[in-house]
Amino acid sequence: MASVHDAERMGGKPHWEAADIIGKMTLSTLLFSHDYRHIAIKGMLTSIVMLGLGGLMALLFRTELAAPDIQFFDARPYMSLMTLHGMFMVFGFIIPFVVSIMYYMIPKILGTEQLLWARGAQWSWWLLIIAAVLLVISRPDFTWTFYPPMALRVGGELIWMGYIAIVLVAISEFIAGVVLFKNGWEGARRIGWKKLPLMGWGALSEGLLLAGSTPMLGLVGIIMYTDWAGITALYDPSRGGDVITFMYMFWFYGHPAVYLPLMPAVAALYTLLPRFLGRPIWSYWSAVTAFVLLTVLGFIVYPHHFQPAENVSGWLQRTTQILTLAIFIPSTLHVFNWIATLWSDKIPDSARRAIPFKFMVASIFFLMVGGVTAYVNAQIATDSDFVHNTYFVPAHFHAMFVGFMANMAMAGFYYLYPYFTGRMFNQALANTHFWFWQIGIFAKVTLMYYLGFNYFPRWVVDYLDLPQWSMPQMMLTGAAYLIGLGFIVFVINTMISSTRGAPVSGDPWAIDGEDATAAAPVPAE
């Protein structure tokens, strides 16, 4: 077992030499290079752009929501903003961001030294960019779940581009999944299954989830297009179709979709925690079990997304409830493992100072905040009682997406930053970013839970002027602005520090008491 807990294998040693990789990149390496670092940096940078755009859209429609009645946006532009916000954040920002962090870390941590099938990762990126452009042109206003027949009857003449974009996203994610699975598999073949770093297990589950679920999304996108064009009528009841088919097909992708950004974030946490603490993860096999369970459960619990519909009844409803509740077990295994690792020995002062470590701790916190309420979401009675499609649901997934995954993406970015710029970011600005985000996210999530508790419906531009609704909405807008401000600080810090930050030599994340200068990258075997 000693080799399993080898700190080096768990990411406990630095894997790269700090170098100004980004400064030496030209336009052609940025666009076409197959070096894993170039692809990963490109992915992270475009994700940050998407985060900025998606966040700007959120700020715009949050401004509208601050007070009852309609002030700035009519229902249609409001819904376009909201739909694009969702699609940009999920497809454009969070999934590619954490996947790019994986691309960066895998080659060294799994010992493959290069990203296998980097061409695939390249294609995946290009398809995603085309999809994003098509999405913006098509201006969809049918929410990211585009339930037919509603979706078939709204939107402008260019909405077909939106369906093409959905197909492209599916292909892009499928390719990324194959790349990750291939790399994870190769790592396992070289290192051995019993010694495979947790990053490898993360890559395998992520690859399976991506490659297994996205074909269905592609199919849904194609059928939505042909239905819209009048060629088929699979999803349109007025022409003999059936919406239930859509529900099952879409959510077969839709539930794994929420695990797509989760798995790399979890894998990054497992890799970085030993790195900053200087000791191995508390239990390797508990983490592996949790990865496997989560992957399996991720594929079969999807009917809980449309539970209050009549077609989910009887044994299917009950089974879905039990399996959904059972997700508690793997997620708690993860959290338990992290807390036990933190608790098992002294936390070095170097870790307490490190910005990535702070973001990791915040991630664990928000994973709990978002996770426990699933106990209420998962139960049939509470779901059809008061949770379904109220703000309780966005509160749950914003705690996960923003609180856990976006925080973890930031932890990964700040961790890799000195490695690809050769310079350290400004500590004070990074701290400002951290606190703006944590306060903003906590306020946002709490207020959304509160609104959901008071039956505030999702997807509304206008609402009744009830005291339990308007006051939290106003505060929620404030919290959103705070998060936006944090993002601006982050961008400024990233840009300025890449040329003016203190140059890094040796290990930028050296643990107190260890010789920082002696730490050199681990040679390849």
């Binding site: 919406v243 519909a309 009950r318 295994l333 098992s344 106990y375 009675a381 509470t382 059809s384 499609n389």
Partner: protein, 200 residues
């Protein structure tokens, strides 16, 4: 669901469990970060913890199933789900048919009177709502009665509520995005007061 509401009801129980578990988790995280005492947890702790979680899963599942079955029971007894409800011999105090459309509700009572914005009921009545739509998927939610349903076009969905005892207006809203007018898709559940009862 009538048996789920109230301070000691099932909803509150579940929320209390959520808060307790969350509080425990946050306390553990903060202890791991800030307590001077270091603790290498034995692996048996995790199995104990999983055991506790399994109890939690079992409890959530059985309570939820119990509440939901109790709620479905009247629908089954009256034959609503199998053969369709018979208003002559049935035990519901009132049957209201609800047509949901883009964007609003039409309530049709037993006298075939149509209202575009209000379902009028008596305090404490057991009301059966027969929901249907012809255009897109809609939702139907009455916060005060604790009921949410989602129904697709072409299908009929039956839900029942016990009307609030307090006379007044209670919100009815659509909870499923059904097009740009979704936010306007609201109506009222009007619980008639004594003066209304006297008039009628």
């Amino acid at each position: 669901m009538e048996n789920a509401l109230g301070l000691a009801g099932y909803q509150s129980t579940m929320m209390i469990i959520v808060f307790v578990v969350l509080g425990f988790g946050i306390a553990a995280l903060f202890a791991a970060l800030f307590l001077p005492t270091r603790w290498r947890l034995p692996y048996s702790m995790e199995f104990l913890f999983i055991g506790l979680l399994l109890v939690m899963v079992w409890y959530g599942d059985s309570r939820s199933a119990e509440i939901y079955e109790a709620y479905q029971a009247p629908l089954e007894e009256e034959g609503v789900l199998e053969t369709g409800y018979d208003p002559e011999n049935g035990n519901f105090d009132q049957v209201i048919r609800v047509l949901a459309f883009q964007w609003g509700f039409a309530f049709i009572n037993e006298e075939d009177e149509i209202s575009r914005n209000a379902a009028v009921v008596q305090p404490g009545e057991r009301v059966l709502f027969s929901l249907f739509a012809n255009d897109v998927i809609h939702g139907f939610n009455i916060p005060a009665a604790g009921i949410t349903a989602e129904f697709e076009p072409g299908a009929e969905r039956d839900v029942w509520i016990r009307a609030p005892e307090e006379p007044g207006r209670y919100l009815i809203q659509c909870l499923n995005y059904c097009g740009v007018g979704h936010s306007q898709m609201k109506a009222w559940l009007v619980v008639a007061g004594d003066e209304d009862a006297a008039e009628a």
